[in-house]
Symmetry: C3
Subunit: 351 residues, 3 copies
């Protein structure tokens, strides 16, 4: 299952300057510490430079500056991590899907499947759906009515698209993801919830990735919109009518409430939650498990939460925190009283 590629071919593929034998055969990838004599490694983080000395790799992807002191074979590149990303696909053991339509798949007569697409076992493709060139639809996928999947898409086994989900080119969707589910729309009348049909769809751009068991709800009226190049990790919840700008990335377990808009090039760390109907501008970074309760209008990093402590100390902190309003008032009172007995005191005690 391992590919074999010669170092010279790799250099050409990556546009790298080769220092070493072009005939050397590479069969895989590994870290600097773990790489064996047939594996390619890379140095991206300067912190790992110390591992170069004892590195057993066949060759190392690195920058010119790092190559100087390195005696092994090297592929010198401008951005070793990006080059590693490119090279990684050459050694990916992921099986390539068999071409054509599996005989067990159930495909509506009026669905259009490009002849170069691959449709897996037990897939269901409903009326009016269109599957583009080179698309892989994994086993057990359900593609709802009138969905469109652009050229080069790859759907893992067991992905569900409800009806009217339109997906751009080269989109990757991992197993268990559900796109186009009926968002949480109910009107409350006298304490009883009445369902609101979710008549919008989902519009997903090019080069998007959607992780395992992630949910993207359809719009209530207009579409939910995911921009180009957006990367969503696993177990994420995107509610109805959310809009996500191009090239924004979200780590696992993020939850975005309905109608919230997120700008371009944002990064949301794991477990972040956003309330609904707010706007996040471009280039915002939100640290892990932050609760975002209002719009953000300035680029930058934002956080909430408290630092971890040993549980016994934390219990004291948490109890005190409930009294912080009282503490603040007592400080103010102290300042007043101290001001009364010290010369010029009150002048400096406020704000």
């Amino acid at each position: 299952m391992t590919a074999t590629i010669r170092l010279g071919e790799l250099a050409e593929f990556l546009g790298a300057t080769l220092r070493g034998s072009p005939e050397k055969e590479i069969t895989g990838l590994a870290t600097l510490q773990e790489a064996g004599p047939a594996q390619l490694s890379f140095l991206a983080n300067p912190q790992y430079r110390k591992y170069l000395v004892d590195c057993q790799a066949a060759a190392v992807l690195l920058k010119a500056a790092d190559a100087e002191g390195f005696i092994g074979d090297a592929l010198v590149v401008a951005d070793p991590y990006l080059s590693y990303a490119k090279a990684s696909h050459l050694f990916d053991p992921k099986p390539k899907a068999a071409g054509g339509i599996h005989p067990s798949a159930v495909i509506a007569p009026d669905a259009q499947v490009d002849p170069s697409a691959s449709i897996g076992a037990f897939a269901v493709i409903e009326s009016g759906a269109r599957i583009g060139a080179g698309v892989t639809v994994g086993a057990h996928c359900f593609i709802g009515a009138r969905c469109e999947i652009g050229a080069g898409g790859w759907l893992a086994p067991r992905v569900t698209l409800y009806h009217d989900v339109r997906i751009g080119q080269r989109v990757v969707i991992q197993s268990g993801a559900v796109i186009g589910g009926e968002g949480f729309g109910f009107a409350n009348s006298k304490g009883v919830w009445h369902k609101i049909a979710q008549v919008g769809g989902v519009l997903i751009g090019d080069d998007v990735e959607i992780g395992v068991n992630t949910a993207v709800d359809r719009g209530a009226l207009a579409d939910t919109v995911i921009g180009n190049g957006v990367k969503l990790d696993n177990q994420i919840q995107i509610a109805h009518n959310v809009q996500i700008g191009d090239h924004t990335a979200m780590a696992a377990c993020v939850g975005i409430s309905g109608s919230t808009r997120i700008g371009k090039h944002c990064m949301l760390a794991g477990g972040v939650g956003l309330v609904g109907h707010i706007d996040i501008c471009d280039n915002v970074f939100i640290t892990g498990m932050t609760m975002v309760t209002h719009s953000i209008t300035e680029p930058g990093a934002y956080s909430s939460g408290t630092a971890m402590q040993p549980a016994a100390e934390w219990r004291k902190s948490a109890a005190r925190l409930r009294k912080i309003d009282d503490m603040a008032r007592r400080i103010k009172q102290l300042e007043k009283r101290v001001g009364d007995v010290t010369p010029g005191g009150n002048a400096s005690s406020e704000g």
Copy 2:
């Protein structure tokens, strides 16, 4: 795919007072800002009243008070949002499932499927299950042994019911939901976990909705119970033996630990977590991402967490918070010392 309904018919369906042409044709729904001349809109939130002036909609659902200053066609109703909810289903592009049993479905000989039910491709229905009148079971659903699904239920593609899950009437379950999974029950002996069979089932009332990829575990001994009219959003976790009262709603990513009981008409915002074995009374509202560590006996709104700050400021706050117990002690000491030097001071420094 668009329905066409005349305004007069809509007025009759909604019990609305029509102001305008009964023959005008409506083909869809949209917001006040986006509605075109063949679309119905609605004014529920007074904040959006300003959009009435330029509204292009064919007609607007609104209250009598708002109708006065509006020159366009109107459907005057008591509760525009509720009327919108009712009207929305008329324009829902969701495909209606084909009747009958798909030939690929695998159905146990002793399962009972009502002739008016629809069973999708590759569905599996196990021994003793009973599927009621008008129920839709989507493609790739798995209905375990002895499950019951009451009349009018709708299961999206790929829903799993383990054995002995009993579901009331008109229940909607979105894709990826798993009902009746084996809860997290283990006995620890000398550091090793031993599995406890989960012999209870799940009992779900009428008019319940369960969201995408939500999990409801079966009971350890007795059943896990979801009351009538409960609405669960996506990615929710309901552990074994939880009981949820009628008409309670939970937004996405909520987690409820084992044996906790939640009252009626509660609302849990997104990302809320509840520890196990506690009781929440009726009419409780819990704000987003709150950690609930003890029972709640009074109706009202509850919260935990900290407000978001720019990350640099947050780091300072978080560091200080770890010292809050020390701060409190220093305030107390200051009060004592200030009391020693100011007349009558100590009397007011406590409490």
Copy 3:
């Protein structure tokens, strides 16, 4: 659907001392309060001792000390909860899978399925996979290329294993779980994310349990590793290259970021989040919804977050907390000023 077992047989099975009639027939399990005259109950938590008096159970599993004052039939054991765990499987109504391979399953010619294994309807087993003795693969499961499932494993309906996932013996995986998904690996170049192929696999030990809709990503280079006896509840996210030590348990909705290592015998309560690239030592307990942002090197309990308050009070606390840095500075200033006017004051105000 109920098993019937005589009390004498139960005593023998559990190695218990029987006090009562060996011929009494037991048909199920229930709590002390709910058990009827044909059900077995147990007393593990001393808090429930008060329910013994009115207990209607056929017999109760309890310790010798608790048996003294109890007049009903009893099975006296050293660890009643562990004995209950063992007995529970005798009364589990979970259907046993039919033996053999369901005719609808799609199995690669070179996959190896043990003759004693059970393969459900619409299961897909890909090239080179190996299914061990007595394994149950539920309906709609997808077993990727070269996966291995050790003897005695039980996969609920609809479990996805991507390629190259190796699983030990007696492993239980609940519905919707996805093992081996492509982790969140991207290299950012000029604001655009480039996918990194995830060439590692997943290695899972013996006696592991993985909950509903839980995701375990494959390694980026080396394998993601789950130790023996690890128990993962529902809706958990395990990122690429995480390593989890033997007998560690995690409650629902936990998220572990990439390359983090967790020791043995740890317990993570619900909703806990760990950042990437940290180490947690053995025997650590982390309370619910804690955010873990750095390594833990000492066994013990750890927490973060704030206590729940009524929302109105919480808003005040949260607002004050944003000013805590200012409060701390004002306390320090007060101490200095008070020190100036009280004898010997400054000496004690620091530290």
